[in-house]
């Protein structure tokens, strides 16, 4: 391969290349061998299929919401139907897609390999986590089938406890079960990272992907149970009428808000941190350069996890928390924005003096950087007390968290899926189509959500089924963008499925990346390594990789 080519893609000779004979995919046959597997890679694939399924269900709701908002009148569906749509969209996307997206698929698949372990510490619990995911998913879908739930994903009391007769308890049960699924994933990761590292794999030799998953796992383990107890109390309040959140019985509705956001704010870090890990890997690989300021990026992940527990009340600034408290939480919110800024600059500087190529994962990573910067900065708007008064509960909020969650997390997820697709399946996806998809997604995304910032400053409230006519033009733009975005998401589904059979054989290390996962065959064998590796280099050590490749050429050739 010549040094001046514009890609680092290095595939084996397609005329002679074959997939390895023995892989985790064909190690055992039959559906049962998948359903009772303990193999983290197979569970990751199970998860991947499951979350894709739920992503498109949630996406369908998003499409219907945007379609309804095309006109100012509520003409496509009745208002309670609309309310059920956005509630389901929220619950499915948050609990069934975003929280497990990267950790349960890519994290599950890669974490043990990156650490040089044969599997996660508790394979059975890992499988249990997937079953709980489906149990929770089915209960949530059950709530939908039985007639829906219209609380929004936030289950705000006293609305959810006393004023709705939809299936709140069913949906809450589903989310409760999903919480356990998430706890078990996080618990497994923490134990694996602490206990299963290969000899020589010190903390500061771990890839940043692992660091960010470590931070996210801590949040999962410590935050999720608080959501569980809160939802239990909501369910009890509905079923027995106990009144902890009911002001007429002496309860405080704000207590619900505190407990709910104690989980749900860290939850946004659970969602975004693993995505940040993916971006670190991708940018490093396609710049052929170690991540700039490795320790700063690693510690900023942990800092986000730590500070993440101190800022939840910024969701409640106008809800009647005391002014003093609001001040403290606003200040802490400003502090938590700093580690994200540090990360962004480090990623940008990783490219400096690198040797950059522009494959699909890198394009998605560029998209992530731009959109996450906007998403993060608009978070500062909302963290500033006085600004929050005008912006909160409007489309500004909607645009902000979609920039972080969809523009950030989903871009990172797609970057990761494309990046590790050859490792997971042994085959390449079609490059030009995937680039098209990346660009389509980026354009569609901006068209969908940039107008919503303007709508938000105009004051258009979120969760509105009908709206004043002067907001229509921007809503039409947004809906048009959503259509493009939808196409952008359908494309990968199609060509990735296609590539399973017809993609080019990828070989072990198509990107010439340094991670341990790239040094084994693709797809890997059942216990990843024939022999547990001994790690003698840092992550992102491209000189080590060059040296190793040179040696292989001399010994094999």
């Amino acid at each position: 391969m010549s040094a001046t080519s514009s890609t680092i893609l290095n595939l084996p000779d397609q005329r002679t290349a074959t997939l390895p004979k023995r892989t985790y995919i064909n190690n055992e046959d039959g559906l049962l061998s998948w359903l009772f597997t303990g193999d983290h890679k197979r569970i990751a694939i199970l998860y991947l299929i499951s979350i894709t399924f739920f992503f498109f269900i949630g996406g369908a709701f998003a499409g219907l919401i945007r379609l309804e908002l095309l006109t100012p009148q509520g003409d496509l569906m009745a208002s309670d139907t609309y309310n059920k749509m956005f509630s389901m969209h929220g619950i499915i996307m948050v609990f069934l897609f975003l929280v497990p997206s990267v950790p349960a698929t890519l994290g599950n698949f890669l974490m043990p390999i990156m650490l040089g372990a044969k599997d996660l510490a508790f394979p059975k619990i890992n499988l249990l986590s997937w079953y709980l995911y489906w149990l929770g998913g089915i209960v949530v879908l059950g709530a939908l089938v039985l007639g829906g739930v219209d609380t929004g994903w936030t289950f705000t009391t006293p609305l959810s406890t006393h004023y709705l007769n939809t299936h709140v308890v069913t949906a809450a049960t589903g989310v409760f079960i999903l919480g356990f699924s998430s706890i078990f994933t996080g618990l497994n990761f923490i134990v694996t990272i602490h206990r299963m590292r290969a000899p020589g794999m010190t903390w500061f030799r771990m890839p940043l992907f692992v660091w960010s998953h470590y931070a996210a796992s801590i949040l999962m383990v410590l935050g999720t149970p608080v959501l569980a107890i809160t939802l239990t109390l909501v369910a009890l309040e509905r079923l027995v009428g106990i009144g902890v959140f009911d002001p007429t019985k002496g309860g405080d509705p704000l207590l619900f808000q505190h407990l709910f956001w104690f989980y749900s704010h860290p939850a946004v870090y659970i969602m975004i941190l693993p995505g940040m890990g993916v971006i670190s890997e991708v940018i490093s690989t396609f710049s052929r350069k170690r991540v700039f300021g490795y320790t700063a990026v690693a510690f900023s992940s942990v800092a986000i996890a730590l500070f993440g527990f101190f800022v939840w009340a910024h969701h409640m600034f106008i809800m009647g928390v005391s002014n003093y408290s609001a001040l403290v939480f606003s200040l802490l919110t400003m502090l938590v924005a700093v580690p994200s800024a540090i990360k962004t600059f480090n990623w940008a500087f990783t490219m400096q003096k690198g040797s950059i190529t522009f494959e699909t994962p890198m394009l998605y990573a560029f998209g992530f950087l731009g959109l996450f910067t906007i998403g993060g900065m608009t978070g500062v708007f909302l963290g500033a007390l006085g600004m929050d008064i005008h912006l909160t509960e409007t489309y500004f909020i909607v645009a902000h968290f979609h920039f972080v969650m969809v523009g950030g997390m989903l871009m990172a997820f797609l970057a990761g899926i494309h990046f590790w697709w050859p490792k997971m399946t042994g085959r390449m996806y079609p490059e030009s189509l995937s680039k098209l998809a990346a660009v389509t997604t980026f354009i569609g995304f901006n068209l969908t959500f940039l107008p919503q910032f303007i709508l938000g400053y105009l004051g258009m409230p979120r969760r509105y089924h009908a709206y004043p006519p002067e907001f229509q033009v921007l809503n039409v733009l947004s809906t048009a963008g959503a259509t493009v975005l939808g196409v952008g998401y359908m494309l990968p589904l199609l060509y990735l499925a296609w590539s399973l059979k017809y993609g080019a054989i990828a070989g072990n290390n198509p990107w010439q990346a340094t991670g341990l996962e790239w040094q084994i065959q693709s797809p890997p064998i059942t216990e990843n390594f024939i022999e547990i590796p001994i790690v003698d280099h840092e992550a992102y050590d491209y000189e080590w990789l060059e040296h190793k490749t040179a040696q292989e050429v001399t010994t094999v050739g």
Binding site: A341, I342, I356, M377, G386, I389, H390, P461, Q472
Partner: protein, 347 residues
Amino acid sequence: MHISPVLWQFLVKWLNASALFPREASTIAPYADALYFFLLLITVVGLTFVGCLIFGFAIRYRKEKHPIAIQVEGSTLLEATWTIIPLALFLIVFVWGALLYFRIYNPPTNAMNIYIVGKQWMWKAEHPGGQHEINALHVPMGRPVQLTMIPQDVFHSFSIPDFRVKREVIPGRYSTVWFNATTPGTYHIFCTQYCGTNHSAMIGEVTVLSPDDYEKWTQQSTSGTSLAQNGERLFASMGCNACHSGSAAARGPNLAGVYGSKLQLTNGSQVLVNDAYLRDSILNPSQHITAGYAPIMPTYQGQISEDGLIDLVEYIKSMQSNYRVQQTLTTSESNQAAPTTPGVVKP
């Protein structure tokens, strides 16, 4: 290309009717917008900076031009720079935001008060003079107006985007917000906290009138009885006057002139009597026993609507002497109408 003139006109009209920036119709709005533009500025600068870095590096160090990467560990100086500069910016934003927050939530003392009751799915405005409005609010221009708000059911949120004010309406306690409208006209009121099926129908209009027009409107639309007068009737019919008669031997404390005073409670604490205190001591009296009185007052939780509470609060606020209370009491006693033990009477 030929565009049908009808379609063209429609398009032009459609685009002209669209909004891109909200009107500035209160004294707060320019302050909020100033912070907004500052934030926009740092966002754009930050985004441009990150964008320039990415595109600059991507072009300069693309593989064709720069085939061999040069490994760099990192740089403490740079790390410190991009820790401190964002931190400093964010702290400025914090201070600025906090100042704005207190501007919006700290009403001036001379503000006129209007009560807002939110219920699924309408806004009821109650003016002290006895004007009642639904999904509408008339306010004078150039006078600070404070809204004292409470919902009957769930969380709502009262938002007037063109004034840049918003406040959650919290079940079980009064919340307040204030504004000083600067331009006559009509502006949207939104409920921004999701409150059930017809959440998006819980919108209304605030009409800002010039002082003269406002005077006219007040005269024309009054219901004839002020809130305090309603409250007085309620005070008698609920039997409050039996204990709070103001006489020395009364079982309840004297309420005349109590509003705005500092009260010594049996539990030793001192409280300022305001709207929230009055409402709470009607619903949860035992936590607000004035020193020297026995905890015998029954609770009115569930027996009186939020509107009724507002009437009572407004009445007690306006009460300067007990003359009329005692008059009512004598009349009703002579008629044998008022029960001596209150508590079972529903309004």
